[in-house]
Symmetry: D2
Subunit: 139 residues, 4 copies
């Protein structure tokens, strides 16, 4: 697809995102023609009083992984802004690794759209889904 | 309105939210009959490579402040899950304090709805807006 | 504000929207520097088996009124596409006139954002709220 | 799966939805264990001045088909309200039949979540996607 693989994704996360996001430890796993796979590793700092992974973390991961998946598809990081991020929290996520799949629904000249799905590791059912639009600020 | 004021809000943030959220330093300012005001204080850890406050932080703050504003309105923390969090990123937020206003649009027996608006300190124009639905898990 | 007033709004609705939308009978009431007011008039065809105005109608009205309010602010109809339309249905709307307020949160060169609030006529509380992003296809 | 099939879906559409929605002519095609398929048939009344199917129609269809797919999964129509409907308009839909797929992401005692995807007939790429939460008003 492109020369932008896991190593470039790791570098992009370290370089382009806020330290508070880097701290989450999002791990790129693989990219393909329509998106990418990530892991949000188990992390006690993301668990709230109810004993589940906080929705703020999964929403933040959805946005971050979307931007990285777009970079992979583009073969480079194109500066963009998130227009909207809509996250639905469908099932609780017990502490543990979270599997994240980003599907790029459109990647145009000016706009891109992604959908993100998250599941507990090895679970069947989606726990969190997000849909997002992005506006590219440069070609 | 209720005996739930700024001090109770600070205690709720410290106790009920994930450490990664507590780290943001969200500061409750005041509560009233329809919602509450907060500050997201200047914090370099929230700024990304583009030199602006990352959208993940403002989305996370929107969810967090909504839950605290509902607690203030209820006079206590009622356990709830976020059903959806929809955030629109309208203008960039330069590093600095962010003023956050939560308006509770409905606070029912089973469901609640909030709208959140964020502005750079002393700015006129809204930079981020979020709308969210919550489902109470207990009465 | 601009020469685009109620009459121009009526003409735009009749000319630019699909017949199925025109049929709703949306009525522009007034425009100002930050948005516009509309009425969705009582209409039995919009009421579902539960005896309330269907959410599909209020979502459709939110999008339509947003586009017209942007035209009023721009002084002309600039071709645009709706990027996303996020509607929250907060309270049921009994049959009767619905008051609609569109607030334009941003009106840029490439993108615009609106928020829409709907209430039953003379009611205090918001029944439906929508937030939307638009991408202009021409300057 | 259940005795609720295409015929029951047609009857539900005719009986439970507003006349303005019935007018769209949404056609149930098939149901399975995770959702349902529908067609929004070609209809000039849904086309706007830009020569494409209006977003208001696809958003309305997303909500309607979601409710019907939930009924099919439940084997009967359980009264519910739409909590939120978030629609992203990704590609224009030229006049013609639209293929609609509803995936039920969760169907709980109190809440349900759906995702809807729409494509032009025989097209590969998604044109419209919607995610929605529903609150059941009765068991």
């Amino acid at each position: 697809m492109s020369a932008f693989g896991v190593r470039q994704a790791e570098e992009t996360i370290a370089r382009a995102f806020a330290p508070w996001i880097v701290e989450m430890g999002l791990t790129p796993v693989a990219f393909d023609a329509t998106g990418g796979d990530f892991i949000l590793p188990e992390n006690k700092a993301l668990v709230h009083v109810g004993g589940v992974i906080c929705g703020q973390a999964t929403a933040a991961a959805a946005d971050t992984c979307s931007v990285v998946a777009l970079a992979a598809l583009n073969g480079r990081f194109r500066v963009c802004t998130t227009v909207d991020l809509t996250t639905h929290f469908i099932r609780p996520l017990k502490p543990g690794d979270v599997e994240i799949r980003v599907e790029v629904l459109q990647n145009g000249r000016r706009m891109a759209y992604t959908r993100v799905e998250m599941k507990a590791k090895d679970a069947d059912k989606v726990a969190v889904t997000a849909t997002s639009a992005f506006a590219y600020l440069e070609e």
